[in-house]
């Protein structure tokens, strides 16, 4: 595997894979992340995986740049780098007009009907290329070419929590209310902060994701079940409805 090592100052190492948005390359990033997390190399403070790069922040009092690079070279030379097994997540989305704030604009850009847009959005498995922008915000791709649309010229000041949006060949979910420029076509009742009382986030980079359409009353029901703690999370982590 060809990678380039670079520095970000004296306490961060950047591993650049081939610089393009590509599922295979992204999988290698997540494999290496997983291996590094299992290794728990002393001195590593945190790891930030992205589309085709991986950043490792380290404490130079505990490990030197050279030591870290040589350890990573050794890991890369092993053949088990692509053993990464992604999880599969199933996310319910209500595409009702009430939530699909930018459906008209997306219809105009894509020349598709609302029903066709929903069908294309729900009939494909997406990859989680990375988490960023907001804590827990998943960058999912790639969208079919037909759904490609540009970001809003004027970003919205308040995109609601749970909003599902499109931008370029990507789709994503807002984990919290935030300003943002993605074209909003629906909303998920699922709290991206994971299970109640569990402090991890729902999405991890590398996850495979598919969406399914729900009614507004089902949306309300799921919201209520999460609040009361009766929500069946295996619907998200395992079997789709």
């Amino acid at each position: 595997m060809k990678v380039a090592f670079k520095t970000l100052g004296d306490e961060a190492l950047l591993i650049n894979f081939e610089q393009k948005i590509d599922e295979k390359i992204n999988k290698q990033v997540h494999s290496l992340t997983q291996i590094l997390e299992e290794r728990r190399i002393v001195g590593v403070r945190y790891i930030t995986p992205a589309y085709c790069s991986l950043l490792i922040a380290f404490d130079k009092r505990q490990i030197s740049y050279k030591q870290l690079v040589s350890q990573i070279r050794a890991l890369l030379n092993k053949s088990n780098i692509s053993t990464f097994q992604p999880r599969k997540l199933y996310i319910p989305v209500c595409y009702d007009r009430f939530f699909a704030l930018d459906m008209a604009e997306v219809m105009a850009q894509t020349q598709l009907s609302a029903a066709e847009i929903v069908k294309k959005h729900t009939s494909q498995t997406f990859k989680t290329y990375m988490i960023g922008f907001l804590p827990g915000f998943p960058y999912l791709g790639k969208l079919p070419k037909e759904l490609e649309c540009v970001r809003k010229a004027n970003p919205r000041l308040k995109v609601p929590k749970g909003a599902v949006g499109l931008a370029g060949l990507q789709t994503g979910i807002y984990p919290q209310e935030s300003p943002g420029g993605w074209q909003i076509i629906g909303n998920t009742p699922i709290d991206l902060r994971g299970k109640q009382g569990d402090h991890t986030f729902l999405f991890e980079a590398g996850d495979e994701v598919s969406f399914y359409s729900i009614s507004k009353s089902k949306y309300e029901a799921i919201l209520k079940d999460q609040k009361s703690g009766n929500f069946n999370w295996s619907n998200v982590y395992g079997q789709a409805n």
Partner: protein, 286 residues
Amino acid sequence: METLIGAMCMGKRIKFQFTKPGFHTLVVDNSALGYQKYGLPVGGPMDELAAEMANWLVGNQADSPLFEITLIGPEIIFKEDCQIAITGANLSPQIDGIDAPLYETICITQGQNLRFGKLISGCRTYLAIRGKWIQEGQSALEKATIERLNTINIEKVEWFDSLRNSERPKLTSPVLVVKVQKGPEFELLSKSEKSILFETTFTLLQDSNRMGYRLSPKLPAINQSIISSGVVPGTLQITEDGFPILLMKDAPATGGYLRALNVVSKDLFKLGQLKPGGSIFFQLLE
């Protein structure tokens, strides 16, 4: 705003009360470290050295939570005896109307109040309180997004003799010179753009905060970006329009702008005391 904060002293619960919150008062710590793959900022004190010294002065661990106070201070009434230390920017602290020392351990008696006044140097003051901090029901996400003042508990540990140290470091130079290394995309810049970075005294603009410092002047438009990739506090990004942005502790974990430079780790803390209008000069460390 009134905020009561609980603490434990010899088995007894004590409290201190924020009768004024100040301009921007935060509890900062390093508990978000490791969550960057979920997109969380690194967080933590902007001036790590001042924060560590404050904690040392009250016998806490160097990375214990403490208050970061920016530009305008809060007013605090201590409801029980406790031990505190104030470091970083000189915000003219007073205890019961009498000037309080910086970089010293201060013993507080029940009912005393701490106030701050005119900003004399720096930008951020640190207030450490002796004891073990207990944080209830806070996820890393909540920490990154919610004002945290309401949910902090402090458990007091036993007393030790107070330290004496009246020396305090000062930022006297009108221009803050920081050492930098070339960033991953440095070579994508033209020769003239590179020389601007090292020959210009940049000014910190008003809309700078814990996420990032916006610097002036801007460079010519570079019309280049990268596929989103990791960044760290101290990364100097150049936007497509040529605006330099120096990322700080609450920056997103990833970014799509060119990473031109990185401030070296031992100079990073100095940036925490730079306030809008301040000057900064980059010195390349080969």
